[in-house]
Symmetry: none
Subunit: 211 residues, 4 copies
DNA sequence: GATGAATGAGGGTTCATTCAT
DNA sequence: CATGAATGAACCCTCATTCAT
């Protein structure tokens, strides 16, 4: 009879990181102990350290995963069929989806997008996160260039700067819409979705040719 | 000779909260222990608890202070002499100054801006923070209304929604400019200041009448 | 105009000890801090230490006071008009009253009743407590002697031993009746009072001549 | 050679609880810190919390153990060969032995004997303690019923009430004999043992038929 | 490879007490 | 005399991490 093949490392890492993610979402990263993760995942506390160097690495992996998802979402949006404006809105939606699915890491991921990793004290996952960040950059870059070349966007914009600024602004308004959802309902009399749609449109005016 | 005046409570609170702020900046709030604050400030750990109910209150005080500064900055900007656009840029500068001086609390303060404080379990400082947040809201509201009424801004904008969206976007781009300062230098070949100035201008186009 | 006479020490001690007693009753001795006593009494924390050497002395005073009350109750009972049995029951009632009024100290007082105070490390109050204890002893002693001489009690009892044994037993059953009041209601279907009356009578049979 | 068997949990719990017991005896429960227990037991403070949820559980375990011992002693006494009186004295001895071995918990155990444990916030050990208390109740109940039915005890006694009263009285006199051992020697000229024997006999007269 | 067992280091908080004024 | 101010010492408890097996 064939010996049952032991699960490879990667399966255990996946098992653990999924549980960790669940717990991080529920209770926050700081308030989730390795103990909690061990209990919930069925692995022993010591085993966690077999598969992950430490808690930090576990987090880094989750951040990386979220980053990869973000790339996937954005990539899909950019490559969609449709005119520029349509795809712009799809990109906004992608960002929105990312923030709703990974509220915890959005901040960390975005911070790590472009770390200067000369240093030696970076986890491999952190470097990978950076690389994915770069890919995202390029993606958006290309998108905006296309906008200019096709005459939809103003000619005079500095592409790199605009891309980055848009990124910051979109991220900011989306985050705000999550943090203050209730306030928006009460004071602006809008659902989060409507608020964001209008905000996305507002921002589009800043870059488009149309008056 | 006059008897040496005892330092009033408030002086000690100031001493302590300043040290706390310094440490929070350096190591993060979670990683700064009351022990650290005691050692650094020269007060005994027990004394800390004479002047602050607990760590939470200490933080709340710092957040409140930062909020009050923000209000001060914005108020000054709004009430400046100059045309609408000039004052808009001043507001952006005010936000920038706030973020550079209170990077830690910017997030917390902004989160607490509009908490629904029916609950009874809020520290006085938290309620005050909320109130200052409301005052800031009104301030910006009035500013934008003025812009519309004077014909500088588009007539069709929803004021509340626009105010809020602008707020989120400005905050987002400023935060990004701090988190990725070095990246901006390297990849966009700009100083943070220049990057932000351009971003502020970019955003202005979204709301102004001019083409 | 006459200068207002300062209150003498004893008044302050009384003020403080009364508040302390109240708090001790409400929250237990261990859970009442000197801070609590200061706040509630209107004296400053430091002033507490002007009037009492330390928390221990404050407790000792309360214990002494309770002891003196007990002596008063017992003395009244013993000196009442009525036959021996009647006065026996009065003594039991006195003990009961004491336990209901001073549940906290009953234990401490009773423990200190006969400390061997050769030692030098006793508070004056503790020595006084001892002395009152001795007076109580004599009181009961005399009572039982009277019972024997009047032919109501068995002749063969060792007076000292019986007195002491009675003391322990009465104390025990009374304490039990307080600790397990609810249980007595539920399982024995009696009110505390009835339970104790019957117990007092039961015990009386052990010493009386009657069959 | 056999692999050395790891010590099972229970051994560590035993080690720790024994040290704790020793320290509790010496310095009192409140005055014994987890630190003390750690130092004395050779375990690290953190390890204590591996084996016991918290200090409360440690205490509850000790109380339960003492209760179980008490049940064991009483059970043995009740089931002894011999007439009723003889077994009565054995029961008294059992109580005495219990108090000498577990002076600290006697009070706590006895308090918990009949808690109304509808509540959900009881430790398993506390519930168990309750259950053992119930078993003790039944044991004594049966013993007294036997006494009545065999004509040794008065017919007119209320069994439940008498059992409980006896319990309180015996406990009271035994506790007194420990607290005041020296005083008894000096003033009554008796050893503790003799004092108790006489007291047990005295109490017996209260319930027996004999004149 | 997997883990039960163990822990050092530190967390926030409280308290009885002292002392300069 | 009275006290505001200050604190050392302790408290219970938690956590990420290690290591022998």
């Amino acid at each position: 009879m064939a010996r049952r093949k032991k699960q490879p490392q990667s399966v255990h890492r996946k098992n653990i990181s999924q549980i960790a993610e669940k717990l991080f979402m529920e209770k926050g990263i700081e308030n989730t102990s390795m103990n909690d993760i061990a209990n919930e995942s069925g692995y022993s506390k010591a085993s966690l350290y077999v598969y992950f160097k430490d808690k930090e690495e576990l987090i880094a992996v989750l951040v990386l995963e979220s980053m990869e998802k973000l790339y996937e979402y954005l990539s899909k949006a950019v490559n969609m069929q449709g005119d520029f404006y349509y795809r712009y809105l799809e990109i906004c939606q992608a960002l929105f989806q990312y923030h709703s699915e990974y509220p915890l890491y959005s901040r960390m991921a975005l911070m790590n997008i472009n770390i200067d990793f000369e240093g030696t004290d970076f986890l491999p996952e952190e470097k990978d996160t950076f690389r994915v960040g770069e890919k995202i950059n390029e993606l958006l870059w290309r998108f905006f260039r296309e906008g200019i070349e096709s005459g939809v966007l103003k000619r005079d914009i500095n592409m790199a700067q605009t891309t980055f600024a848009m990124w910051g602004m979109l991220t900011g308004v989306i985050q705000l819409s999550f943090n203050k959802e209730e306030y928006i309902n009460r004071m602006i009399h809008m659902q989060q979705k409507e608020f964001l749609d209008r905000s996305f449109k507002l921002l589009y005016k800043a870059i488009s040719m149309e008056e």
